[in-house]
Symmetry: C2
Subunit: 173 residues, 2 copies
DNA sequence: TCGCATTGGTTGACGCGACAACTGAATTGG
DNA sequence: CCAATTCAGTTGTCGCGTCAACCAATGCGA
């Protein structure tokens, strides 16, 4: 154990404290709005959105877990609840009988289509609209660098949980 | 309901996805290291550190909750566990008999003193050391802007959970 | 000084996520 | 072609955080 710890400078400490506060408060804010307006956790929303954007609206559990930065047990629990609510369906994969495929139902598509505008509004109000275009780019780079450390193998880091030109639902519906 | 939702641009979506992934993965990483090496949640660590740095190593529950971005019920539960472990003590405030004061014990001071180097090491390895000084400044500004939205009244946003020149424990012990 | 709203804090119930254990299917090595 | 390992997924248990309800003390208005 090295006794020569490099303690944090004032600037480092200040930035770190704010990042920690952000990481603490952001998830709660997202959950609060979505639960209130759509009865969905932010994680559930992201999972449903990922399915909606997938080919055939279907994805393997493992891949869905990767795309949503979740462990497999966690996804399994969430999938059971979503299935009980009729928002997704699960069925064994025909080519690999170990695997399970999940598909979003019409009810699920409808729900996220209804939830999307309010969610995007919240994301804009709480984050995107308070940043300049340069800051947006900086955030992209900074988060990318940190994620490279937190998820070295890059197996996680969902590539998409939003939309550039409207929800996939609109195109797929 | 305004039907004219401003969907996310490609740049916005990319930055947002990374921020969400960061907020999802960072807390788990911090908890994992601290639990493994010190048997403490990151939240418990922050709370103990706040007490260690407070005058008389004592703070009102309400203020401690503010400084740690926590709700009062959450802090109350955590405080009970910490007290059962002998890391803090609670006693009624003499001047306001509604209030409760919390004090960190010697055992608590010892524990965070032991835990601090490893934690700082993790913070450096996963975040600080992968950012340039400019990025550190950018992160400070970006997180500040977002926090102003998430916590408009500014009641939360702990001002310190780290140290510029070594842990307060060293000075106070 | 009485009545009422507010503040400070605790408690209990519930839901979600982590972890470990487990099942069954596929792969690999001899 | 069988044994051992790995992979995909589910389930049960436990701990933590949220919410609502609650109690006690304080402040405040009339």
């Amino acid at each position: 154990m090295s006794a020569d710890t490099r303690w944090l400078s004032t600037e480092e400490s200040a930035a770190w404290v704010r990042l920690v506060a952000l990481a603490e408060l952001l998830p709660g804010a997202l959950d609060a709005q979505l639960l209130r307006d759509a009865g969905l956790t932010h994680f559930e929303y992201v999972a449903l959105m990922a399915l909606a954007e997938a080919p055939d609206r279907t994805m393997r559990m493992t891949e869905l877990a990767s795309r949503t930065n979740a462990t497999l047990p966690r996804l399994s629990h969430v999938a059971r609840r979503l299935e009980e609510r009729g928002l997704i369906r699960r069925f064994p994969c025909p080519t690999d009988r170990r695997a399970t495929n999940a598909t979003i139902t019409e009810a699920g598509l409808q729900l996220i289509a209804d939830a999307a505008p309010g969610h995007v509004e919240t994301v804009r109000a709480s984050v995107l609209d308070v940043l300049t275009p340069e800051q947006l780019e900086q955030l992209y780079a900074i988060a990318g660098a940190v994620l490279a450390r937190l998820d070295p193998d890059g197996r996680l880091t969902a590539t998409s949980c939003q939309f550039s030109e409207g929800p996939a639902v609109a195109r797929a519906g």
